[in-house]
């Protein structure tokens, strides 16, 4: 054995020589970290305030928006500056991302801003920066292509600038002003349409069009084109489904495309489209029209997929409609399509299907245009999709839904080589029973009459909770309680349920579109989840303390959360409460001006960077102010952890004597120990809040098993070989602490853990980071241990990532008290895990042991001396 240990020692020193530790002044890094957290905290508070004030409960004007944003931008700039200093300018893309976002917001505020003067943009170059200029439909398609890497047709966009040029060039500005002023009689609209159809393209636009068409034929040869409408806001708040024209099978010739383009522009002013715009609160003439020109797919079959049943059937399934040929017949409902009900998760099994008669199919005509013809009879009696194609469509639809965080209505086509190509994706409004989730959510206005007389006595609905926690998003909704124990449990989330959880978590974004409400025991109104709740207008209460205890899974309840911060949970569905405050929010949403002002919040509040362990967690992917702040937080935290790992200790190193384990060496970087301590300290002298919490957990009666754990020779050998990767840190247990900070690295047996925590008064500044790696035992035992840790860490609210036999978990945005509770659990877990090596003999025990830990039953050896 000794010789083995010597071997490890020599391995260790060789490894260290190759990876020399850099000595870092951790005090300086820590003070810079704290400052950044303060800057970020201020910015988050302003952001939260803006979200609240523009959410519908307040009369706000442009001055408010301008002033609030200018404060916000100033805070972010300070934060960025400090961050750049801390990270030695290693993230220059972040500043670029911020400048881009900032210029958009300023443009939206001043109303003069034009993000591009370009008349045309290839789809591959469309990014969030020019979302408005290319219209909603093109933007979504570009996102699918450029961000998700899905197959979409090649093409380009004629922007809203092109539309304006066209209008001016043909002298149509005046007639449109008349429209805007309120005169939209049929004669005027007719005249306008005729003049658009007879209009000529401005020379610059003509040149652009020729150039783009040439480029397109370079990519797809002689292919036919589809010219589609892409109005500002189309497929955004409202779908405008079927309102505007799409021209199919257009030859790739400037004349033909120009004519199709004019038809698309003219459709903005059809009698029906104008009536629709009025109903939605637009002033006709105010809405501008971009158009996308796309290569036609030579489709063998095509159709529409709904990522969830829009009518809210009992089982939560995806719906796919399909017919032979081009999708026009399905979209327009002119033929009876094949229908498939498909599970929403891999392997996307078809649970039900019905063959449609498909009496007609749409085909392209040689000379342009399309023809709806009779389907050959043998094809009418055959399903138009194969199972593997159905699964592939379903897979892509879930990817799209995950990305846009909303149920989706997706148009797709299958080409002759069997590839699935996405033609369009837009939000799907889901209905559930009589009132849809969406509707009920919208009815939850911020202007609830909260006076005494407005609260009816509810004899048949006893109060389950009252005035607990903080209201994030007001509203009154009913639904069944769904207790979310772990992230996987969310896969089973039933539509319309009320999500009840101990921690708030940005991972809940997955179910936001389906949740009627959210109630959590912990959390705060500035958390990431809270801002997402506001974005989705899901009535949400955080920090309610006892929700997971007071509310029974599956029980029907009604949550009433008022704008003034009061909340009540009633037993049963109290319809009188839900119906009482009807749809003023819907009406507000229908105000174009309201949406326009709120529009800039889209560049501020949504959080796209949810999981730090994924590849898209990058500076380049920051699309909102919230993303920027999140990125700064995460990277600063990593910087701090890294610097603590390489802390220069010299004379300041003290030794903490702990009875049950090897000493922990301590570097105190600020009031982490009581004054006047010598070189050898005892736990009572530790003042550091996080270190105290974790020591308390580690020494929790029962969690720690005295004496060694039996280990087989082969396990030990494996351990010795495997420890190579962590030799750098294996030499001593080390804690870098201040009163509110701790970075602790400890070795227990053959496991190695790092815990990093900052737990100030301001939840938004706080985090816990936990990493566990290495360990003896064979590969299957190690994997089981990681599986078990994953279950427990998920339960504690960590976002986790497993890589080999290493698991990393983080929690951000956490109150001090909650952080202390979790550290205590982490401490127990570290002690508990120590005895596991020899115990994880089969897959079956993993969940059992995890559950025993969660239940506080730490004695895996049973009573007695504890040997197998």
């Amino acid at each position: 054995m000794t010789s083995l240990k010597q071997k490890i020692g020599s391995l260790m020193s060789r490894y260290s020589a190759r990876h020399p530790a850099r000595a870092v002044d951790v005090r300086a890094v820590f003070s810079s970290y704290k400052k950044i957290m303060d800057d970020n905290g201020r910015a988050l508070e302003i952001m939260t305030d803006m979200g609240e004030k523009t959410g519908g409960g307040y009369l706000f004007d442009i001055v408010f928006t301008r002033d609030a944003y200018s404060d916000l931008a100033a805070s972010v700039r300070v934060s960025l500056k400090d961050f750049n200093q801390l990270t030695a300018g290693r993230h220059p893309e972040l500043e670029q991302a911020f400048e881009e976002i900032d210029s958009h917001i300023n443009g939206l505020i001043s109303g003069t801003y034009r993000s591009t003067e370009r008349l045309s943009v290839p789809l591959g170059q469309v990014g969030p920066g020019i979302a408005r200029e290319v219209g909603g439909k093109s933007f979504h398609l570009a996102e699918l292509k450029n961000r998700l890497g899905l197959e979409v047709p090649d093409g380009f966009v004629l922007t809203v600038s092109a539309y304006e040029e066209f209008i001016n060039h043909n002298g149509l500005g005046e007639i449109i002003s008349t429209l805007e002023a309120g005169d939209d009689g049929p004669e005027l609209l007719h005249e306008l349409r005729e003049r658009i159809l007879a209009g000529s393209l401005p020379p610059a636009l003509e040149q652009d069009l020729v150039r783009q068409l040439e480029q397109l034929s370079g990519v797809c040869g002689e292919c036919r084109l589809a010219v589609r409408s892409s109005a500002e806001e189309e497929d955004d708040v409202f779908s405008f489904a079927g309102q505007f024209e799409t021209v199919l099978n257009v030859p790739n010739e400037p004349g033909a495309v120009g004519q199709a383009y004019r038809r698309v522009l003219a459709s903005l002013f059809s009698d029906e489209a104008v009536a629709y715009q009025r109903r939605l609160g637009y002033s006709p003439g105010g809405l501008r029209m971009a158009a996308c020109v796309l290569a036609m797919v030579d489709a063998t079959a095509s159709g529409v997929a709904y990522s969830t049943d829009p009518l809210g059937g009992k089982e939560d399934l995806m719906l796919i409609n399909s017919a032979w040929g081009l999708g026009k017949s399905v979209v327009e409902g002119s033929t009876a399509a094949d229908m498939y009900k498909v599970e929403r998760k891999p392997p996307f099994a078809v649970v039900d299907s019905a063959m449609g008669d498909k009496e007609t199919m749409t085909c392209g005509l040689g000379g342009g245009g399309v023809l709806e013809k009779e389907t050959p009879s043998e094809m009418r009696r055959t399903f138009s999709l194969e199972p593997k194609t159905i699964a592939e469509i379903a897979r892509q639809v879930t990817v799209i839904e995950d990305y846009f965080h909303r149920p989706q209505d997706v148009e797709w086509a299958v080409d002759s080589s069997g590839r699935v190509i996405i033609l369009q994706a837009r939000p799907l409004r889901v209905r559930k029973g009589k009132a849809s989730v969406e509707d009920r959510r919208m009815s939850a206005s911020g202007t609830a009459p909260g006076t005494e007389e407005a609260r009816p006595a509810l004899a048949e609905h006893p109060v389950l909770m009252h005035d607990r926690g903080s209201v994030v998003q007001p509203g009154a909704v009913g639904g069944r309680v769904f207790l979310a124990g772990s992230p996987e449990a969310l896969d089973e989330f039933p539509r319309g349920a009320i999500l009840v959880a101990h921690n708030d978590s940005p991972q809940f974004v997955r179910v936001m579109p389906y949740a009627s409400a959210i109630i959590t025991d912990t959390g705060n109104t500035a958390s990431h989840m809270a801002s997402i709740s506001r974005e989705f207008r899901v009535p949400t209460v955080v920090g309610a303390g006892i929700a997971t205890e007071a509310l029974r899974p599956g029980a029907e309840i009604t949550l009433r959360a008022d704008e003034d911060g009061s909340m009540t949970v009633f037993q049963g569905i109290a319809r009188e409460l839900i119906d009482e405050q009807h749809d003023s929010f819907l009406k507000l949403e229908e105000l174009y001006e309201f949406r326009r002002r709120k529009y800039l919040m889209k560049y501020i509040a949504p959080l796209n960077l949810v999981n730090p362990f994924t590849d898209d967690f990058s500076a380049r992917n920051c699309r909102t102010i919230h993303d920027i702040l999140r990125f700064i937080h995460e990277k600063s935290m990593q910087e701090l952890i890294e610097s603590s790992r390489h802390a220069e200790h010299g004379r300041s190193l003290k030794r903490l004597d702990i009875p049950f384990m090897d000493d922990i060496h301590v570097i105190d970087i600020g009031a982490g120990l009581s004054a006047g301590t010598g070189d050898l300290i005892v736990p009572e002298q530790v003042v550091s809040v996080p270190l105290n919490a974790i020591l308390r957990g580690m020494s929790y009666p029962g969690a720690w098993r005295k004496g060694g754990v039996p280990i087989s020779i082969s396990d030990f050998l494996t351990a010795s070989i495997r420890t190579g990767a962590m030799l750098e840190n294996i030499d001593l247990n080390l804690a870098v602490i201040s009163r509110l900070y701790m970075n602790l690295a400890v070795r227990f047996g053959y496991h190695y853990s790092i815990v990093d925590c900052y737990c100030s008064e301001r939840p938004a500044s706080n985090h816990i980071y936990f990493r566990f790696m290495g360990g003896a035992a064979d590969i299957s035992k190690r994997r089981r241990r990681i599986d078990m840790l994953a279950i427990i860490l998920d339960h504690l609210g960590f976002i986790t990532k497993v890589k080999g036999d290493m698991i990393t978990g983080t929690i951000s945005n956490i109150g001090q008290e909650e952080a202390v509770r979790i550290l205590d659990q982490v401490g127990r877990l570290m002690a508990f895990t120590r005895q596991l090596d020899a115990m994880l003999v089969s897959d079956n025990v993993v969940r059992d042991y995890a559950q025993r830990f969660i239940d506080g039953d730490y004695d895996l050896f049973g009573k007695g001396d504890g040997q197998n």
Binding site: Y58, L59, V63, L591, R597
Partner: protein, 120 residues
């Protein structure tokens, strides 16, 4: 209680939001984007409550207040403004406004103020 309310603000969004929120309470609401047409309207009709922005191009809220008090002494005026300008606020209060709100105005508070004004 049904009552007639006039809202004057040079930003359309403020009037529109106020109209939606107040109609929800059963009030009749008319909105104006500037004071001149509002004052014309006041010559032919009376409103129990006039909610007006303080700082507007042309005729400002204080002039609206004076005219309202002249034409319809029983009407109550609620002043809102983007600038929480204390001096003007004090002058306005002296000049008998019923209530004063800096923007952004919490709709719930505005409604309560209107209820109180109508109850007087």
């Amino acid at each position: 209680m049904s009552a007639r309310i006039m809202v004057i603000d040079d930003e359309k969004i403020v009037g529109d939001m106020a109209k939606i929120s107040l109609e929800e309470e059963g009030y009749e609401v008319e909105t104006f984007l500037s004071a001149a047409p509002a004052l014309e309207r006041l010559k032919e009709a009376s409103f129990e409550i006039v909610v007006t922005d303080l700082k507007m191009k042309g005729i400002d809220g204080l002039e609206v207040l004076k005219t309202v008090k002249q034409l319809h002494p029983e009407s109550k005026v609620i002043m809102i403004t983007a600038f929480a300008d204390l001096d003007v606020a004090i002058e306005a209060i002296k000049a008998d406004v019923f209530d004063f709100f800096p923007k952004p105005v919490r709709i719930k508070e505005l409604k309560e103020s209107i209820r109180k004004a109508l109850a007087e």
